[in-house]
Assembly symmetry: C2
Homo-oligomer: 325 residues x 2
């Protein structure tokens, strides 16, 4: 018997034990747990939403952990409570998440005002993201007022994280001349700021060159909001330089968005879009697990790929099989 | 009574009358017609697929019509048969498509080896795209060996067109210094070539500057294929300069993709992805028209946007209502 109300109260009082239990429920694959998790979330929802949600991405080696630790310590030093979550769709395959690993952020992990949680595992990005998104709500209900969601530059994971945060920060490092080649398609376009880390020592001139190139590249893109110009910033997480400027940028962004009304609008849109993503995922599941569809799917897909039947005819046949049920 | 077999035979013989009848079936909203269209398409499918499919986009004023006319006349002069189709999701609203308008391409419209068809109308981009995609197959079955699908730079329409063609050409014009600002997000990333039109007279230096800027910008993007580097080309459709080079680029692309096996792979992927798009669209339709869902949807969406219920709980409630049916 799960004492949901007790857990909910514990979470609201900011008790780590209760929060951990709640997250375990969210992450569980047990169907009873999943129903309990929904009830718990609905109970805690009114207490959530008060944090600023920050997404951070960057390729391995960009110094994400060092940066998050620097930023996290700066924030807890200012009295904030910081939760660090992660979305790593590869965590299943690699047999354990490389993200959110406490040993990577030793100082922050020992900070009583910080909470670090590795990426949940899952078969699909959607599944992983769902758990992280719900864990974010739990952390907010537990009084964390800055949520950092970390991800790697793999596939769709950045787009997914961007869709659950207020501010998306893209961490880059100055490379060997062709550094800008490495920008993944679409990622520049979801970033609210670009941060070039490791701008220290011999790296500094290259970091400044990279910064100028990013500024140029950003010019090519239509701004998403008329109230925000995406900046390219420099920092050295290792030497703790430029970290306060990053936080000031996040706050300036929040201010600008709140003033224009875009902050709330974006959150509402994110919630509605998220609902539709879940509905469509579940619908697809329902469809794929339908016995009539299952029997047809293989041959029909092959016929389409082989040019024997049109996509429309194939879709129609599958839908009819589904409706027969 | 629709004489499907007769129409199919007529299409295969390249008879314009039969082709027009077949397209009318495809475009019809009548359910019987829609079933007939599926049968017709399945019959004609083996005769389709032999054209090169070229997508062309550009903002109004980029000179799309003039360019397509120039290219089309060059191709019919070489013995090709050219079909020009269009995807204009705004055609419904504006009360008639601005695209594919024969009066815009007077010479090409009078060419017996060219076939110009305005954008089908439809409530959704998906609906418009579906009809155009199927019309493309009909034109191929009718012996057109170059299909040009034109679209405007509106919303998702470019992404949609790119998903149905072999080669996607983005038409730009040299602007007033800030021309690159105008590139829509994501569009650079689906282009297989960028073509700066109106590179004539006084415009020439600006066009060359723009070209250099595009080359730089393209450098920032990871190539989609290791066998193709996206070029930025110049042309003057008005003075018919640079048109043959564009066609040579398309042929070089096809050669490179065919050699690497990517050409067929892309087509197979497009067909399968298209099938899934149709399935998901139809599933969503089925879901939205479910009476139980209909009754719940409004209040549930509001509760999500207002932060009263979580997206997960809302999605679950809607799905359960759907399954009850």
């Amino acid at each position: 018997m799960i004492k949901l109300h007790e857990i909910a109260e514990g979470v609201k009082q900011g008790k780590i034990r209760a929060l951990a239990k709640a997250i375990t429920l969210i992450e569980s694959r047990n169907l009873d747990h999943s129903v309990a998790a929904t009830t718990l979330l609905d109970e805690l929802l009114p207490a959530s939403g008060n944090a600023i949600r920050l997404g951070i991405s960057g390729v391995p080696g960009a110094g994400k952990s060092t940066f998050i630790e620097s930023l996290g310590l700066l924030l807890t030093g200012e009295g904030h409570r910081v939760a660090v979550l992660a979305v790593d769709p590869s965590s299943q395959i690699s047999g354990g998440s490389i993200l959110g690993d406490k040993t990577r952020m030793e100082l922050l992990a020992r900070d009583p005002n910080a909470f670090i949680r590795p990426s949940p595992s899952g078969d699909t990005l959607g599944g992983v993201a769902r758990k992280t998104r719900e864990t974010m709500l739990l952390c907010e209900a537990a009084g964390y007022d800055v949520i950092i969601v970390e991800t790697v530059g793999v596939g769709q994971s950045e787009i997914t994280v961007a869709s659950m945060v207020d501010f998306f920060l893209l961490l880059q490092i100055p490379g060997a001349g062709d550094e800008l080649q490495g920008i993944k398609k679409g990622v520049m376009e979801i970033a609210d700021a670009i941060l070039i880390n490791k701008a220290e020592g011999d790296n500094r001139p290259r970091a400044e060159l990279a910064r100028a190139q990013y500024v140029n590249a950003l010019h090519l893109l239509k701004p998403r909001s008329s109230h925000w110009t995406v900046p390219a910033l420099l920092c050295s997480a290792l030497q703790q330089e430029g970290i306060a400027e990053v936080w000031a940028t996040v706050l300036a962004y929040r201010q600008a968005m709140a003033t224009s009304g875009e902050f709330d609008r974006k959150r509402r849109q994110q919630a509605t879009a998220w609902m539709w993503t879940l509905v469509m995922d579940d619908l697809k599941d329902l469809f794929l697990r339908d016995r009539n569809v299952e029997a047809l799917l293989g041959p029909v897909q092959e016929a389409v790929a082989g040019g024997i039947t049109t996509p429309s005819a194939a879709a129609r046949r599958l839908l009819e099989a589904f409706k027969r049920h």
